[in-house]
């Protein structure tokens, strides 16, 4: 148990550093799509909600888990759709009149 939490802390620390390095390189041009994309990725929390809703440990847990799936899924679907729509609009001068 204890070592689990400790290794989780290591993972968090490393992921935070990777996040900083990767996201620092995103052009300010794309900061809005960045936010909607990270938002969609963050909705991976749906994984926890699915297990909660499916495991049927208590009525409360199933209920809360189900609502949680709905809200996370709407973020996943909506987030990816709008990010792609935005990115489709970014064209360079070269391809503009294509």
């Amino acid at each position: 148990m204890h070592s689990d939490l400790l290794s989780s802390l290591y993972v968090f620390m490393l992921a935070a550093f990777i996040g900083f390095e990767v996201i620092r390189r995103v052009s300010p041009l794309l900061h809005t799509p960045l936010m909607s994309l990270t938002n969609a990725l963050d909705a991976i929390a749906v994984v926890g909600a699915i297990i909660l809703a499916g495991a049927h440990k208590s009525t409360l847990a199933t209920m809360l888990g189900t609502i949680a799936i709905v809200s996370a899924t709407s973020n996943i679907v909506g987030g990816f759709i709008i990010t792609d729509r935005m990115l489709k609009m970014f064209k360079s001068s070269g391809t503009k009149k294509a």
Partner: protein
Amino acid sequence: MNPMAASDIVIEIAYVIATALFILSLKWLSSPTTARRGVFAGEAGMVLAIAGTLLYHGIVDYKWIAIALVLGTVIGIPLGRVQMTAVPQRTALSHAFGALCVTLVGTAEFYLRAPEVPKFMMAVLSLEIILGSLTLTGSLMAAGKLQEVLPQRPITYKGQNLVNLSLLGVAIVVAVLLVLDPSRMHLFPLMIIIPLIFGVMMIVPIGGADMPTVISLLNSYAGLSAAAMGFVLDSKLLIIAGALDGASGFILSVNMSKAMNRSFSNVLFGAFGQVQATAGTGQEARPVRSATPEEAAAILAAANRVVVVPGYGMAVAQAQHKVRELCDALNKRGIDVKFGIHPVAGRMPGHMNVLLAEADIPYDKLLSMDEINGDFAQTDVALVIGANDVTNPAARTEASSPIYGMPILDVDKARTVMVIKRSMAAGFAGIENPLYYLDKTLMLFGDAKGFVGNIIRELSGGHG
């Protein structure tokens, strides 16, 4: 733990691949040429992770999962199809949904495990619940203000910070009590309710121009609460996704606060909107020079280099398509047109870029503040559309100004400055803008969309 079941190994492998895809997704987002591949990688990772999770042996009933997935998709599709001008409120809303998910799962986990919750677990769970709840109501408030369902004016009162910090303090005390003894289950609802109230109070004093910082900050909170949830569920995938989101929100918040010259602690404590004290009274009715569309068109036609500086006013007037037409008309005459975009222009980071890209303006014409500022000295006309404080030279010179020290676009270094504005009314914060009284400045009074349309008509009429 027992040796892993075969299905567990498959799930873990799916998660590892999904994690890699998520990181690649963000990496590819660094450039517009690879960005769409990034979305695809993210989608693939997401599908893989969800499919893997559905194999989990502990799931005994798929009925509710299926219903919820379908319902979420039905809600998500329209949220993905909103107009580009509505993207800031949509983003705020999605932070609220993310936070809702995290808070609900955290609540369920507490009641499943209590009263035997290890101390460290309870601490992380408390962090998850507090961050999740305050992000939930905070984001809903922000979305309401952006959608103008709620009044956009910041509401401030005496002792506001004290009230807010005490609320947060009480929530933390409750969390500590629960960590010390998780069997105090009656305290748990307080740990949800107090941050819910705090989230509302936190956004009450926020004005529209502070929204880019606030949205970034809420983004960061949403990410951190998801990472905390990952600790509770021992899910490395979730920890990593949450850390990436948290880092992204953090970087954006720092960028935004730098672009407004706020200290970082100012951002962390959510003490925004304090700036609009009582600046820039006095100096009534100083003379300004104004110009008609005809005159403006003549000056533009004689220019070689034009830099357009858009602000939230352009978005409000929905003028971006007209601006593109103007850009085309000028390009046709061999005039170079670029756009100078301040980091906090608009209502969220990158807002102006998205609107201009939507209007089909090539992204290589969209330059950030650092890229464009050196060019103004060689610019014939700087055309400011619906931007105010981000062009205010007082930020450079007047130490008494509330925005002193804020990096601005140096439009006043251009040969001629034209400002499209509805009236002389001061912008956010009521700060007087000395730019408008310069000899080289021409005020173009009117609605941005209409005025730009008139300039285009003059340009095409004049030369055929």
